[in-house]
């Protein structure tokens, strides 16, 4: 015969009653969403922004993406040589950079893997659409998200690493 756990039962009642009183006096932890906007933390993973100038169409993000939701098309072109008489330089131009957010699982591997600091997280979250096809964000839309990218936060005191800056 186990002993009757009476104190625990009463403690439980206390917890719910305390929450009741706190919600009535100090308000709830939830937010009435369409009327009041929730403010996510600055590092929240809302949507991915693209800084187009940094992208070299290297395809690393597209290949690492577990969902294959990044579509990149590019072409090479000959840029004029830096010095007169030199060889024309080969450059990559970005034709298409789409992220399909209906497939994306917000793992952030593309952001981590990008060697040229072209992809950034932004905490923006209000981009739902009525049609699922509209969730395919093209490079103009992805570039527009750049405005909402917050600055990187300071590292811990004593860190040697250089703090990255968000290109604007």
């Amino acid at each position: 015969m186990r002993k009757i756990k009476l104190p625990g039962l009463i403690k439980g009642l206390g917890v719910t009653f305390k929450t009741l009183v706190r919600t009535l006096t100090k308000g709830s932890h939830t937010v009435q969403y369409p009327h009041v906007k929730e403010s996510p933390p600055p590092r929240a993973r809302g949507v991915i922004a693209l800084h187009e100038e940094n992208c070299t169409a290297c395809m690393l993000c597209a290949r690492e993406c577990p969902d294959w939701c990044i579509y990149i098309e590019g072409h090479k072109y000959k840029a004029p040589p830096r010095r007169p008489g030199g060889k024309p330089r080969k450059k990559n131009a970005l034709d298409r950079f789409d992220i399909d957010f209906s497939l994306c699982m917000f793992c952030g591997i593309c952001v981590d893997v990008c060697p040229f600091e072209a992809l950034f997280w932004t905490p923006e979250y209000e981009y739902s659409e009525l049609k699922i096809a509209d969730l395919l964000h093209d490079k103009t839309l992805l570039s527009q998200w750049m405005e909402t990218v917050p600055d990187f936060e300071d590292y811990e005191a004593g860190s040697e690493a250089k703090k990255l800056t968000v290109p604007q």
Binding site: L9, G12, L13, V15, T16, F17, T19, L20, R22, T23, L24, S28, H29, T30, Q32
Partner: protein, 343 residues
């Protein structure tokens, strides 16, 4: 009500009784759902609950009813159609019959019989038949298991509930609910008659047993094994949809309201408040409001337990009834009887 209705024709009297009966069942049930299920439960989980329909979501209930009425009334192909369709009415009828025995004022009652409380507890058991009908006729294993659990549970907890009431009956010396209220209004506690004698003081153990048994009778958490959604979908409600599901839903909360009112009547003094003569005509006006207030107080505790405790296991559930509550209530009856004879 008997005084008011004395001069009316039979059909007029019946109509008024029906309308008042409907209001007496649906109004407290709606109040409980809004006040406790929607609001108090939300507050206890640190959220606001429905806020959009009407001020503070007060019209949410109507929206829910509208939603249920729109839904298709599905009957499973293998179901026993007649029994399946009748079952919610049987449950609801038990609820409507239960309201009959509760007086709301010195002259406000539906029926005033000498075996009132016996009648009330008897008709409250009819709902078991409805639940068993629902579970069997659904031709679904989940429904059948849920209904069998519900039947076992309701029968097990019927006993401590009745035995807890027996203590009150011994003390009041009558089965008539109106006279039990009067006995509480005019009674004295060891010679002190200032606040009457609400039996919650002298029958505190009985009150506790009654509350626990009511909780189980309503199949509310922590005693909601019959509708355990993680294992039985929703038990005997699994195959029901639309209007018939709504009827079960109303039945559940109307029964919660009426059992709370019954507990308020038996243990908290019913429509009486100390300070006035029990036969004062004023009680015919404020009696229902006082009863509603006391009912809400009891219901607050019932729903507080509901929102706090996790579900029991089936064997723990039966153990609590047969090994703890029934012996305890029997001891309570013996002690009450001895004290009744001594004093």
């Amino acid at each position: 009500m008997s005084v008011v209705l004395a001069d009316l024709a039979y059909w007029q009297e019946t109509t008024i009784r029906l309308v008042v009966g409907l209001i007496a069942v649906l109004l407290p049930a709606g109040t409980l759902v809004y006040l406790f299920l929607f609001k108090m439960m939300s507050f206890m989980q640190s959220r606001l609950g429905p806020m959009e329909a009407g001020p503070y979501g007060s019209l949410q209930l109507l929206a829910e009813v509208g939603k249920f009425l729109q839904k298709e009334d599905i009957v499973p192909q293998a179901a026993d159609r007649l029994i399946f369709k009748l079952a919610p009415f049987v449950v609801l009828i038990s609820t409507f019959l239960l309201i009959l025995v509760i007086p709301a004022g010195p002259d406000l009652w539906f029926i005033d019989v000498d075996t009132g409380i016996f009648l009330g507890l008897a008709v409250s058991s009819i709902s078991v038949i409805g639940i068993l009908m629902a579970g069997w006729a659904s031709s679904s294993k989940y429904s059948l298991l849920g209904a069998l659990r519900a039947t076992g549970q309701l029968i097990a907890y019927e006993l401590p509930m009745v035995l807890a009431v027996v203590g009150v009956i011994i003390q009041a010396g009558t089965l008539n609910v109106q006279e039990i209220v009067m006995a509480q209004a005019t009674g004295e506690i060891f010679g002190f008659g200032g606040i009457g004698n609400p039996y919650v003081i002298t029958q505190f153990v009985g009150f506790l047993i009654f509350l626990i048994a009511v909780q189980a009778e309503l199949t509310q958490p922590p005693f909601d094994m019959p509708v355990a959604e993680s294992e039985l979908v929703t038990g005997y409600l699994t195959e029901y949809s639309g209007l018939r599901f709504l009827m079960f839903f109303i039945g559940e909360f109307a029964t919660a309201a009426i059992f709370s009112a019954l507990a308020a009547t038996l243990f908290l003094g019913g429509w009486y408040v100390p300070g006035l003569e029990a036969t004062d005509n004023l009680f015919n006006v404020i009696g229902p409001i006082i009863l509603l207030g006391k009912m809400l107080l009891v219901a607050f505790f019932i729903f507080w337990f509901r929102f706090t405790y996790p579900r029991f296991r089936e064997d723990q559930l039966q153990q609590l009834a047969w090994k703890v509550l029934i012996p305890l209530s029997l001891v309570n009856i013996v002690i009450t009887g001895v004290l009744k004879v001594v004093f």
